[in-house]
Symmetry: C2
Subunit: 191 residues, 2 copies
DNA sequence: TTAACTTCTTACCATAGGTCAATTTTTATT
DNA sequence: AATAAAAATTGACCTATGGTAAGAAGTTAA
């Protein structure tokens, strides 16, 4: 929690009351590897801030194939924003790739901060805007790069993540099969 | 402008002063087909609300190929959020696909609303969240659907847009070549 | 209306990446 | 450490989509 508060204070001035409010609406939780925080099809109203470990969100399509939307490591937020925003049941599953520590927030209560403590707004907005920007970049990358180039970029963006992920997690994030990723890796070691 | 105000009031209560402020920082502009509002490589600080017509944002990659990030029709916002958020020169070009009317806002001034009129915040946040959700969906679609399925979905989402767009605009949005789109279309008429 | 230009289609071939199945390697469990 | 289970690799083959080029069809502007 201290770390999140520090990150917030890095960007905005946060009153003691706001800090206490944040504290009051969050729960520190630890999940084992393989634990499922949100399950596709079930209700969602939590969002998670990762303080340690590694999680991912993915969906399973009509053919039973997994597609990874996001990895979340230390200091990232993760949830099913589609479901929360549209007030639907989860379209994604969020699972731990290794033992992880998170701060669990109720999505509605976190919105309440903005009413109670408008000072918090620039932080929230900055987060959302950064999120939009990263999604725009991902879409543009998907449109213009080959699978191999996307993999290179992935390794730059998540330099230490391979120790926690399975091959098929990464493949399903890049939009290829695990077999293709395996072949791409072989090519790279040749050069 | 009236329409935007109406849309805002639909969601939040907007004071007369806030309304006047919005009015004071926007300019109604009309652009001809082919006009370029933002050009890749140049400075950006404007965001546009479309009141009539159709625009798109795209980037040109190292091989000279275009990749469409977004189409914007009536009541949509369009700009180069990557550039604005990161304070960089434009990574995208925004052009009119037909004669269009827009409200032009200075990106910094529009942020000012939130300081001056905190009441506006829920509207802004709702927009951003909806944007995130639509980008998540687009990424998931790109990961799990075939080109033909993505085209079907595109036609559902933008039912009337084909009259303004060239074949290659749509292809470059779907992540395929215009030739492939042409073939997909032929297949559809067969069935 | 014609000419000039742009866009779309089509045919043929090429290729990145997918599928399936067998095998090897890694990881988890006892 | 031994075993079982899960994941990764590999090879043979397949398919969706890309590349190229030429001609057809639209569009624009004089």
């Amino acid at each position: 929690m201290k770390e999140l508060i520090k990150k917030i204070k890095n960007r905005i001035q946060l009153s003691l009351e706001a800090e206490e409010y944040l504290f009051s609406i969050s729960k520190e939780k630890t999940f084992a590897k393989g634990a499922v925080l949100i399950r596709q099809g079930q209700d969602v109203n939590k969002i998670y801030f990762v303080t340690d470990g590694c999680l991912r969100s993915y969906c399973i399509d009509k053919n039973g194939k997994e597609h990874t939307l996001q990895f979340a490591i230390k200091n990232w937020w993760i949830s099913d924003y589609i479901a929360i925003h549209n007030n639907e049941s989860a379209s994604l599953t969020v699972e731990c790739l290794k033992e992880s520590k998170v701060l669990e927030f109720n999505a509605k209560k976190i919105d309440g901060i903005l009413t109670l403590f408008p000072e918090y707004e620039p932080f929230q907005r900055h987060l959302l805007e950064r999120h939009v920007v990263s999604l725009h970049k991902r879409i543009l990358n998907q449109l213009q790069l080959t699978a191999s180039e996307r993999y290179d970029l992935f390794l730059e963006q998540y330099p230490d993540i391979e120790q926690y992920t399975r091959n098929y997690h990464i493949a399903s994030y890049l939009g290829i099969t695990q077999e293709s990723l395996s072949r791409i890796r072989v090519e790279k070691t040749k050069n």
